[in-house]
């Protein structure tokens, strides 16, 4: 749980953008679940509960934005690898453009210093 309670808009914001962050990470290379989750949570403030990424990945797969393949790993059992589909890539680029506009708009309105 995070501070701020019901008034804290960050969980909602995070939920809205998280899937595009996933798509963006997968835009460069195929990743298996653990790697993807760790890269996301290495970015400060992006992921609170790593386990919640898996349902998100499952939905992205059902939506056809992400595909999965099983591949042998160097050590241990085969792993499920995730990759972005052309539709997923299209959605990502659309969002990226909208996001830049939105981010600039909010930045214009927010107070300059955090004091």
């Amino acid at each position: 749980m995070e501070p701020g309670g019901a008034r804290n808009p960050l969980p909602q914001l995070r939920r809205g953008v998280l899937e595009y962050c996933v798509l963006s990470l997968l835009g460069d290379e195929e990743l298996y679940g653990f790697d993807l989750v760790r890269r996301l949570s290495d970015v400060d403030g992006m992921v609170i509960s790593e386990g919640t990424i898996y349902p998100l990945l499952s939905r992205l797969r059902r939506e056809g934005w992400v595909t999965t393949t099983w591949a042998e790993s160097g050590s241990g059992p085969p792993r499920r690898y995730y990759a972005v589909t052309p539709e997923g890539r299209r959605a990502l680029h659309e969002f990226a453009a909208q996001w830049r506009r939105f981010r600039d708009a909010v930045d214009q309105l927010m107070p300059r210093s955090t004091s």
């Binding site: 298996y32 679940g33 653990f34 790697d35 989750v37 949570s41 609170i48 509960s49 790593e50 386990g51 919640t52 898996y54 349902p55 998100l56 990945l57 499952s58 939905r59 797969r61 059902r62 939506e63 056809g64 595909t67 050590s75 241990g76 059992p77 792993r79 499920r80 539709e87």
Partner: protein, 218 residues
């Protein structure tokens, strides 16, 4: 079984229980994903170190949190969608203007008329029978019929007089009948379309998933 193994299996058992409310395939996929995650984390260094494995589980979040996220993702976002009145517009257009394509155009119109759920049976019957084959057929008939029906039979007599007897009803009646037969279907069409448009506005919107699944779940 080490302490660490039982830590992990307890966690997965609890996740399995809490996830019991999910559709079976979602539950299986979730359990598989989390279980692989833990294995990968252990292979990447956590191994049998209890503190490290506890950290892995903490970072995953509680089974309740994960299943709550899965439940939100299991329900597709629904958007309200209303069906337009394109079908009904096409129906009334084919029944009127379309009937200029003899027979076929009107039949298509009748098909569309009966296909729409926005008209009651009685209204469909009126739309069908107001002028069978539609105003188009009246339009063509208007050009031919008077010539065929209004005829005069003239008889010439040897004394040079000609006696003509015209048969059929008086000539003025044809334009009137034709006008009525041409206008009536149009009036009915306008009435039918306005009914359908009003009902379309009153219908509750369909709730459909915001996305269409493009690939079947394996």
């Amino acid at each position: 079984m080490t302490t660490v193994d039982s830590l992990v299996s307890d966690y997965l058992d609890r996740l399995g229980q809490v996830a019991g409310t999910l559709p079976p395939d979602r539950r299986a996929e979730l359990l598989e994903g989390i279980s692989d995650h833990i294995d990968a984390a252990r292979a990447a260094g956590a191994a049998d170190d209890e503190a490290a494995v506890r950290t892995v589980l903490d970072r995953l979040g509680t089974p309740e949190e994960i299943v709550a996220a899965a439940r939100e993702d299991a329900v597709p976002t629904l958007v309200a969608r209303r069906r337009g009145t394109g079908l009904e517009l096409a129906a009334v257009l084919m029944l009127t203007v379309g009937s200029l394509l003899p027979v076929v155009g009107w039949l298509v119109g009748v098909g569309l008329l009966w296909a729409s759920p926005r008209w009651r049976v009685l209204e469909k019957i009126v739309g069908t029978l107001v002028v069978p084959l539609g105003p188009g057929v009246v339009f063509y008939a208007g050009a031919i019929l008077p010539l065929a029906v209004i005829s005069e039979v003239c008889t010439g007599y040897p004394d040079g007089t000609v006696d003509c007897v015209s048969s059929g009803p008086p000539g003025w009646i044809y334009p009137v009948v034709l006008a009525v037969l041409l206008v009536a279907p149009v009036v009915v069409a306008v009435w039918l379309f306005r009914l359908a448009a009003r009902r379309a506005r009153q219908e509750p919107p369909d709730l459909v998933p915001a996305y269409a699944p493009t690939r079947p779940s394996p």
